[in-house]
């Protein structure tokens, strides 16, 4: 198994919103999808997933409903609300700004000004 990395503080909401924005999916599906999308690098702490989903739901960014899965089991499927979609845009912009800034610092090669 390749080396894994814990989630950066504060990024869980963004990642969840992004993953759910692709299609409605259940908690287990979100776990799988996140591992797959990050090339098995980002590992979701299983225990923190559901409280986070609950938090997003309370904020009105996602909603859920019970559906039948491919292998015929009942599971709660989450999807984005319009407010969630807007939030994703905001968070993504914020993340990009922050990441650029962090990269700029980390990759600094020039002399001190």
């Amino acid at each position: 198994m390749s080396e894994r990395s814990d989630l950066l503080q504060g990024t869980l909401d963004l990642l969840l919103l992004k993953v759910i924005s692709l299609e409605p999916m259940h908690g287990w599906g979100i776990t799988l999808r996140m591992e797959q999308m990050s090339g098995n690098v980002l590992l979701l702490n299983q225990g923190s997933l559901y409280p986070a989903l609950e938090r997003l739901r309370r904020k009105g960014w996602i909603r859920s409903q019970w559906q039948i899965t491919d292998n015929n089991r009942r599971a709660r499927f989450y999807e984005l609300t319009p407010a969630g979609r807007k939030r994703l845009t905001v968070e993504r912009a914020a993340w990009k700004r922050a990441a650029t800034a962090v990269n700029a610092i980390v990759d600094w090669a020039g002399a001190l000004p």
Binding site: H26, G27, W28, T31, N45, Q46, G47, L49, Y50, P51, E54, R55, R58, K59, G60, W66, R73, R74, A75, R76
Partner: protein, 896 residues
């Protein structure tokens, strides 16, 4: 997230909490299954795969907890936990819990009951439009000094046409009618004959049919009647075709033109009750029959006063303006008509007439209930304080283990809430019970008392009271417990010195307050009880035991009174003789008589003269005229003081004779022998043949008025009362009398058929009611004081166990140890008693007319009641103190 959506979310979480929990469990189980499956696919055994899945996921319960925290359900969880903990705490101290709940129930129950009754009787507005502008218009008589007399029909007509300050004025005359319908027993009904605008004055509307027309309320109008809804249901089975039915009213065919709601009669019984005298009418708590007043001024001339008048103050005018104007009109009438000599008017708020007499009673009950509630509250506060202090160790320990202050405070609040809720629920039950008792035994003279019940208003009062009490209580013990130094408590010095100085003082003040309130209440109820005893001891001038009475009203159709033949009304005389003969033939009957009115019925009065002293006697008050058959003194135990009783010879054609009572002899024949003197009224003179003792015909508490007795056969009345003295039990005699009345005239309605002792009891009903409630309050308060003092002394004893144990080990006697504990109590009791007596001195003035034959500063009561309370307090203290001296040495040794 906004505060609002947070609230919404939390509320929804509360409602859906359980459902959400299972949903979460399903979701987590699904996830775990999937994780397990993946591990299995990677080659792990099923058990190991599941174990790994659980490890990775973390404790499932923990997730649930955190998810729930997110949902905001934690607050409720905490609350439930507090309540569960509270229930455990309370169940571990059943005596403490029961005492407090019962005490709170008493306080809340009595206060709620008294409020409900007062609310229903006093606070609700009269069921009339703008009742505040209604006034009773009385006539006054400056010669007799009476201020509340009915008016005459001509006076009424003059007032109606001349008074501008009154928008309307109407009159009513009470009447008693016999209602007969085919195949039913005839019933006798109290009814009212009303003037044309009566119902319009009150804005009363018929629920069926119509009101009286102008023609019907004029002389010579058609014979019609309105009936109450109750009568419609009771006598006519609520039949739909009631309007237009013709019934027989005292043998006159009468058409029923409508049905009026039951509350159309509010206050009219009380109006009759307040009048110095009134026409034949018996207050039954409800008017069932309404007739149009069709009398002419020829029927009811200016010197007869049957009409009770009610007016409505004109817009922009006032009671005092109306009083001034009506007085002016009456002065004109006085100048104009000799019949109106000395006549004036008194205008009085109608609501005051109805509710005024019962206000003091309810003020007293409210004060008593408030005192009781205070004592109970103080008691509970004290118990909780003691309890809180004794829990100091628990609080200190839990505090040391990390429980936050708010957490502990919440814990106490939860316990108080449980106690108060229990007390409130039990209290409402108690209130319902008390109100049931009031409905059952309350005197009919108090308006609307029969309708008292728990309603939303009274429940709201109970809940509010519980809320306030609960809030106070939840603070008290917490304060007491927190005030202690945890270190001292935990080091074990707690058992001896947990009381802070302030806590001790507060507790002492509470005990003193409780004792003082109890003494005040005990003295006041003692005064009321002694007054009641004094009332029952009054010599009424007649003897009620063994006597049964039955009243009747003879219809004019079959028992005509042809005044050209006065006093030989053959049919009435024959009826009287036949009834008396039948009564005397009943086995066991010792004596029987017929009278115009029974001894507790004030009957009617007449103006009178003494022959030879006409000028002098013209200014005297009217005299009560009592019609009796010769057997009356024997039957009622009326004693002859002088002269002779009536005999069989005093019949219609014989020489007119009269007896006078002692009051008449004393006031008007001072220094003269009345026997042989002549008195005159009704245009004829009578010779006085005897003087009899006074009968208290105005009730036990009122002195006898001047009265004269005349032979029934010399002035036969259409109404009468049969009085029978028998050796047999009253119930059997009642049956006998009903049978003999029915046998003599099957169509006659007999009413008021009861043992005369019952009549006597009813006449003091309002007083008995006050006595019952007051002594109930005093008794319960004493009980509470007993519990309260007992609790405080046990606590003091427990606090000093070690000290007492050591003293006893060193040779102190048990009596000395007990007195050590009780010394403090003695001071408290003494202070409480002194304050209580002071309170009673100030408060006994409130008792007003409830006092009778007893001074409001009655020494016996003012010494006896505090002594009794003090005794109760000492007994309450002795028991736990003595017990402590038994236990102390052992316990002290164990603790060392």
């Amino acid at each position: 997230m906004s505060a609002w959506s947070d609230v919404v979310h939390r509320v929804r979480a509360l409602v859906r909490g359980a459902h959400e929990d299972t949903a979460h469990q399903d979701e987590v189980r699904f996830h775990l299954d999937m994780l397990t499956a993946r591990h299995e696919a990677q080659g792990l055994g099923p058990d190991e795969a599941r174990r790994r899945a659980h490890l990775e996921f973390g404790a499932a319960g923990d997730i649930r907890e955190r998810a729930r925290e997110q949902r905001g359900a934690a607050v409720v969880d905490d609350l439930l936990r507090d309540l569960r903990h509270g229930i455990r705490q309370l169940r571990s101290r059943p005596v403490f819990t029961l005492t407090i709940t019962a005490t709170l129930a008493l306080a809340i129950g009595t206060a709620t009951a008294v409020f409900s009754a007062a609310d229903r009787v006093l606070l609700r507005p009269a069921p009339y439009t703008d009742a505040a502008s209604l006034v009773a218009v009385w006539e006054t008589d400056s010669r007799s000094g009476t201020t509340r007399e009915p008016g005459s029909l001509p006076d009424y007509l003059d007032l109606r046409s001349r008074a501008r300050t009154l928008a309307a004025i109407e009159g009513v005359i009470g009447t008693i009618e016999t209602l007969s319908a085919p195949n039913t027993e005839p019933a006798r009904i109290s009814g009212l004959a009303v003037t044309g605008g009566w119902f319009q004055l009150f804005d009363a509307r018929p629920s069926r049919g119509r009101l009286f027309s102008a023609a019907e309320t004029s002389p010579g109008g058609a014979r019609v009647a309105l009936i109450s809804e109750s009568l419609w249901r009771a006598r006519f089975n609520a039949r739909d075709d009631i309007v237009g039915q013709v019934v027989s009213l005292s043998d006159v065919a009468t058409e029923i033109v409508g049905v009026v709601p039951d509350d159309s009669d509010f206050g009219l019984d009380q109006l009759h009750d307040r009048a110095a005298y009134h026409s034949a009418y018996e207050a039954t708590g409800r008017v069932d029959l309404w007739l149009p007043l069709q009398a002419t001024v020829a029927d009811l001339p200016r010197e007869t006063h049957p009409l009770l008048m009610i007016g409505r103050i004109a817009r922009g005018s006032s009671v005092s303006a109306a009083q001034a104007e009506v007085t002016t009109i009456m002065r004109d009438l006085e100048a104009q008509y000799p019949e109106n000599t000395a006549r004036g008017a008194f205008v009085e708020s109608f609501e005051e007439v109805v509710l005024g007499p019962v206000r003091p009673l309810f003020a007293l009950l409210a004060a008593a209930a408030a005192l009781l509630a205070l004592v109970a509250t103080v008691n509970v506060a004290n118990l909780l304080l003691v309890h809180g202090t004794s829990r100091a160790r628990e609080v200190a320990l839990r505090g040391a283990l990390g429980a936050s202050g708010t957490r502990l405070g919440r814990q106490f609040a939860a316990e108080s809430a449980l106690l108060v809720t229990g007390g409130a629920v039990a209290g409402l039950g108690l209130a319902a019970l008390i109100l049931f008792g009031i409905r059952l035994t309350g005197p009919a003279s108090v308006p609307r008392l029969s309708g008292v019940a728990l309603d939303p208003r009274s429940i709201a009062v109970a809940v509010a009271m519980a809320g306030v009490v609960g809030a106070v209580f939840s603070l008290l013990p917490a304060l007491a417990a927190f005030r202690n130094d945890p270190m001292a408590v935990l080091k074990g010095e707690a058992g001896t010195t947990t009381m802070t100085k302030g806590g001790q003082r507060l507790r002492n003040v509470l005990v003193i307050a409780q004792l003082a309130l109890c003494v005040t209440l005990a003295v006041c109820s003692g005064l009321v009880i002694r007054s009641f005893v004094a009332v029952l001891k009054v010599d009424p001038g007649f003897s009620s035991s063994g006597v049964v009475k039955a009243e009747y009203e003879l219809p004019a159709s079959r028992y005509p009174r042809d005044f050209s033949k006065f006093p030989n009304f053959t049919e009435i005389t024959q009826f009287t003789d036949r009834v008396l003969a039948a009564a005397r033939a009943v086995p066991g009957v010792e004596a029987a008589a017929i009278a115009g009115a029974h001894p507790l019925d004030e009957g009617f009065t007449n103006s009178w003269r003494v022959v030879g002293r006409e000028a002098e006697s013209a200014d005297w008050p009217e005299i009560s005229v009592r019609l009796i058959t010769p057997g009356y003194p024997e039957t009622m135990g009326l004693q002859l003081q002088h002269g002779r009783n009536f005999g069989a010879g005093d019949v219609g054609n014989a020489a007119p004779v009269a007896l006078i009572n002692a009051t008449t002899a004393r006031r008007f024949f001072a220094g003269v022998d009345p026997i042989g003197q002549q008195i005159s009224f009704w245009g004829m003179s009578r010779r006085i043949v005897g003087v009899v003792k006074d009968e208290r015909i105005h009730g036990l508490t009122a002195p006898a008025p001047p009265a004269t007795y005349i032979p029934f056969h010399q002035a036969p009345g259409s109404g009468g009362v049969l009085l029978v003295r028998s050796r047999r039990p009253a119930e059997a005699v009642v049956v006998d009398v009903r049978r003999l009345m029915a046998a003599t005239d099957p169509q006659l309605a007999t009413f008021g058929l009861e043992p005369f002792s019952t009549t006597l009891g009813t006449s003091v009903g309002q007083r008995r009611f006050a006595v019952t409630l007051m002594s109930g309050f005093a008794f319960v308060t004493c009980l509470l004081v007993l519990v309260g003092v007992q609790g405080v002394v046990s606590y003091t004893a427990a606090q000093r166990t070690r000290e007492i144990g050591i003293r006893q080990a060193l040779g102190a006697s048990r009596a000395a140890s007990a007195s050590l504990i009780l010394r403090g109590l003695a001071q408290l009791v003494a202070t409480g008693l002194v304050l209580g007596v002071a309170g009673a001195l100030a408060g006994s003035g409130l008792l007003g007319s409830l006092l009778f034959g007893v001074s409001r500063l009655d020494a016996v009561t003012f010494v006896g009641a505090p002594l009794m309370v003090g005794l109760v307090a000492v007994v309450a203290g002795l028991v736990p103190a003595w017990r402590a001296t038994l236990r102390a040495p052992l316990q002290a040794i164990r603790e060392i």
